[in-house]
């Protein structure tokens, strides 16, 4: 599989000139994103996600290590012609949406009727065709984010790097973005998606990486991560709650969760105690649980915890 975005043992340190303080935002960070996948990039605030993205885009230089974007070292301007980028806080010039999208397209070397048609097309994709001639300076945050998406897609990029693309969007617009990402993947594009909306990431991402304190804490296929440590939820009647750890008694039934591989033993224990099984349901973990688990862990050595 072709690698489109690669970080190789990257470290980034911020230095404060006045206080001589140093902050290590990334530490021994390695990651490879394959072509044609939607890759979820997660982590709490300050984990180093935006730093990693800004390094990839060439906005800053790594303190050590290296990386490649579409086969070229980070910061290669011509390569960015094949990349679409949406920053976390969308900041755009105050001018009509269509002219704005054309401006960004022209910066990528586009022009003529092709650019005009493409600008119209992407504004339609993000649902702003009726606002194409309105000044973006008067747009709401959600609309700005949609114009931001439009300018990121105007050059029909091979790789889309999106930093919190749905943070200001309403649920309808989120569904629109989700469908847009899936369509893009089906068209062979790669999407590198940084987001705090874990339910969104869970729905669309093929693989996810969780960054914690500048280090990679988890990496794997979304389905595999969610299956690992799968639990079974058992609801029983006619036994006391204190027979099982974490069991909750409510409305005459007792419910508790056990690891899937101990499910049989738990059921036999229920029957041995004279209880009656009401339901047994497999319970998958959510990304939120994995996220909380990772952020509760102490910082690991570089590369540790990668599954």
């Amino acid at each position: 599989m072709r690698i489109v975005l690669e970080f190789d043992n990257v470290a980034k340190e911020y230095r404060s000139f006045a206080s001589r303080r140093r902050l290590r935002a990334l530490d021994g960070f390695s990651l490879a994103v394959e072509a044609g996948e939607i890759f979820g990039f997660l982590g709490p605030n300050g984990a180093g996600k935006s730093t990693a993205i800004h390094l990839a885009m060439g906005f800053m230089r790594a303190t050590s290590g290296s990386g490649r974007l579409l086969g070229e070292p980070f910061g290669h301007p011509a390569t960015r012609r094949r990349v679409g980028f949406l920053a976390e806080s969308v900041a755009l010039y105050h001018r009509p949406a269509q002219r704005l999208v054309r401006f960004y397209g022209a910066l990528n070397g586009m022009g003529g009727t092709h650019l005009e048609n493409r600008a119209r097309q992407v504004l339609e994709i993000v649902g702003l065709q009726d606002h194409a001639n309105r000044n973006a300076g008067k747009f709401s945050r959600g609309m700005l984010q949609r114009v931001g998406l439009a300018q990121a897609m105007v050059n029909d990029p091979e790789l889309l790097i999106l930093d919190e693309p749905t943070s200001a969007l309403d649920p309808l617009a989120r569904v629109m973005v989700r469908e847009l990402l899936l369509r893009a993947r089906n068209a062979g594009k790669t999407i590198f998606l940084s987001s705090h909306l874990l339910s969104e990431v869970e729905l669309v991402c093929d693989r996810v990486a969780v960054l914690h304190r500048g280090r990679l804490a988890r990496l794997g296929r979304t389905a595999d991560l969610l299956q690992a440590g799968e639990q079974t939820e058992i609801v029983v009647r006619a036994i006391a709650a204190n027979h099982f750890d974490g069991a909750i008694a409510r409305d005459g039934v007792v419910s508790f969760s056990v690891p899937a591989h101990t499910q049989r033993a738990a059921l036999e224990k229920v029957w041995a105690l004279g209880g009656e099984v009401v339901s047994v349901n497999p319970r998958r973990r959510s990304l939120e649980e994995i996220f909380l688990e990772v952020t509760a862990e102490p910082p690991s050595s570089p590369g540790a915890g990668v599954s």
Partner: protein
């Protein structure tokens, strides 16, 4: 070249309100000049013209010194540099943008100067030569300010620019006039300020050419420095 032009025009567009205000100021003073008796008040007219001319030098430092800071603070720079635009191209766009902004002002000043001073007997060709001197001085002053603003905030960038532009002028006063040409912004400004009806002065292209060459040198230096700067961190 296309991205450079786009960035330059975009910069001038973003500065449209200050530019428009300056243009209105020039037009207002020209109008006042036209309604006076130009032959009796011609020294006053020349004084106002020189004063307007010196303002644009200050504005070029202001435009150059704050360009990158404003773009970084608003984070709009990320949108531009996420495209196929190199940092050198980005800086070229800003230098050109500063020059366009100041050039528009100088053009308006040249036009109004031709009407008012021309009527009063000042050679019109000389007015336009002085405007060329001003544009060259503005391009150089703006580029020096831009260079400092790649790593300093606008206030310190303006201060550092004043020192760099002022030192050769001081050396010119103390050590001999040749030192004034080391960075010829002062010399070019002096060409404008020392013009009079009695002696409009000799048109020397040397400082203009020197300023153009130094603009190029400072632009290259700015690009070199800017290539090492992390642009996505808090500007403070």
């Amino acid at each position: 070249m296309k991205p450079v032009l786009l960035i330059a025009i975009n910069f001038a567009r973003e500065q449209r309100w200050p530019i428009l205000t300056l243009l209105l100021w020039v037009l207002l003073l020209a109008f006042l000049g036209l309604v006076t008796d130009v032959h009796r008040q011609r020294e006053d007219l020349l004084f106002v013209f020189k004063q307007d001319a010196v303002y644009v030098l200050a504005f070029s430092v202001f435009f150059g010194g704050s360009a990158i800071y404003n773009e970084r603070r608003s984070r709009r720079i990320l949108g531009v540099l996420s495209k196929a635009v190199g940092r050198q191209q980005y800086l070229s766009g800003l230098v050109l943008g500063v020059t366009i902004a100041c050039g528009l002002y100088c053009f308006a000043l040249g036009l109004t100067g031709s009407w008012t001073l021309g009527d009063a007997g000042f050679p019109i060709a000389r007015v336009w030569f002085l405007m060329i001197c001003l544009v060259a001085a503005c391009a150089l002053a703006g580029t020096v300010a831009l260079m400092f603003s790649t790593f300093l905030n606008p206030f310190f960038a303006a201060g550092a620019t004043a020192i760099v532009l002022g030192l050769p002028a001081l050396a010119g006063q103390l050590l001999g006039p040749r030192w004034g040409y080391v960075i010829p912004v002062w010399e070019l400004g002096a060409t404008v300020v020392n013009s009079s009806f009695g002696s409009p002065g000799k048109a020397s292209w040397f400082p203009v050419v020197l300023a153009a060459a130094e603009t190029l040198a400072f632009w290259l230096l700015s690009a070199r420095i800017f290539s090492y700067v992390d642009i996505a961190v808090a500007v403070e």
